[in-house]
Amino acid sequence: MQFRRRFEAGEFTCLVQIDPPKGTDVSTMVDGAMGVKGIADAFIVPEMANAVMRMSSLGASVVLRNNGVDAVMQVSCRDRNRLALQGDLLAAAACGINAMMVVTGEDPSFGDHHTAKAVYDVDLGTLLKGISSMEKGRDMAGVELSGAPDFLKGATLNTCLRGADREVELDRMKEMVDAGVKFFITQPLFEFSMTQPFFKTADNYGAKIIPTVLLLKSLGMARYMARNVNYVNMPDAIVHRVLKASDKVRECTRMARETIEAVKKEGFAGVNVSTLGWEHKLPEVLGVMDGLKG
């Protein structure tokens, strides 16, 4: 649908990250998506992010599609072995999902079922290889498929690394591109000073980077991220702006809009907007996107 077509046509794409419900009531998720239907090209549906049990990405992606919006499904190595992963991918393709992301998944100890056993039957590289094979008509055991899936494939990327860690991430990035990944979604970015080497690598290898823009909700959140989230580079100026603002929510929304603008100016392939449950704020945050549609 929309995201893949626009991405492959080289147009600036707008993704929105939306969490599936913890339960069967999909109304909040669907309402949130409907609020920006036509503005967002697709919704990235995380697969039980932070190892918190929720509706599966496949199920929620199908719900979104049934409501007329495009979804980018995630598959995670943490919870499924090669049989389940492939089965889900076939189901996704049959349900019309044409873009997906592979993720390793956080360890269950981080989540709300911390005594659960993780699977990790395959790693990302093997999974991507398996998907390529499926796309050529054979499953991971080499058995012929009747009908092959075809996905635009993405992965996550951490650009907030220095020194040897950065080299490792750049290598990982190259391996992923070799294995068929076309787009990388970053961690939340508030400025772009550290993205250059990744931008260059993506360019050299024919993949694209889509930064995540996170809507901050409060001064506490900005401070917490600055102090405790080591994969996010939170500039002091941002914390200061929230601190100084009399209407903090409005200021945070304004900053998110400005960051989206900056993402576009920097020449990225698109943006991934995350509101962490504040989907009602999406129309306001994405207002800036109106002018981007041609």
């Binding site: 360890d107 269950p108 100890s109 911390h114 005594t115 659960a116 056993k117 993780a118």
Partner: protein, 222 residues
């Protein structure tokens, strides 16, 4: 004990190929009992390798040594003075021993000579079977002393899966169904009422769910 099996000689030949001076290092503990990596196996493997490389016309030196344990700093120190003589060590210890060696002798390449398989016991000479998967929270008190985690193919915790036939597991007719064994023994112990108690969902965090595990005992630390 830790049960290991010999690695195929072809694989070992491939991995030792780049080196000329190799120490074949055995261990006197578990791998000796399961006849995979003790003094005897070191001798047999070293001669097989010597023969192979002589036939290939390549000059390699295979020395032999067997330590009391390779999972113990103290014993690993015994070879410090000879380590400079070798380009690589082919260790016939379990994976723990190989890694402990690698940690101690940081700049010497380490090659494992056995496949470390499981925690098990000698059934009879030449047959070792699995008994424990070190799940970190033993349930044997409630399962008649028979482990459903290591001995049931599906690791089910509340009675057989439905595939058990004639006391054998559905995955292989030569394998006993763990739950048949548990029920039989509970019956013999006259404790069948325990079988009715539903085991709560298993806490796998003591197994591998939280990553590599550590046992830290302050009471015995010095």
């Amino acid at each position: 004990m830790i049960v290991a099996d010999k690695k195929p000689i072809e694989e070992i030949i491939e991995t030792v190929k780049p080196y000329d001076r190799i120490l074949v290092l055995g261990c006197n503990e578990c791998v000796t009992v399961c006849e995979a990596g003790g003094k005897k196996e070191v001798e047999v493997l070293a001669s097989a390798l010597r023969m192979h490389f002589i036939q290939q016309g390549s000059k390699k030196n295979f020395d032999e040594r067997t330590l009391e344990r390779q999972c113990d700093h103290e014993y690993l120190e015994e070879i410090r003075d000879i380590m400079d003589n070798y380009d690589a060590v082919l260790s016939l210890a379990c994976g723990v021993g190989v890694q402990f060696m690698a940690e101690k002798y940081h700049t010497t390449p380490l090659i494992p000579g056995v496949n470390t398989c499981f925690l098990g016991a000698t059934e009879k000479r030449g047959l070792w079977t699995e008994r424990c998967q070190a799940c970190g929270s033993c349930v044997l008190a409630h399962t008649a002393g028979i482990c459903p985690i290591s001995r049931c193919a599906k690791r089910v915790m509340n009675g057989p899966c439905g595939g058990s036939t004639g006391g054998k597991c559905e995955i292989n007719k030569d394998v006993d169904c763990a739950w048949q064994l548990i029920i039989d023994r509970l019956r013999d112990l006259d404790r069948m009422d325990e079988y009715e108690i539903v085991t709560p969902i298993k806490d796998w965090s003591t197994e591998r769910a939280g990553g590599p595990r550590t046992v830290a005992r302050e009471d015995v630390q010095v």
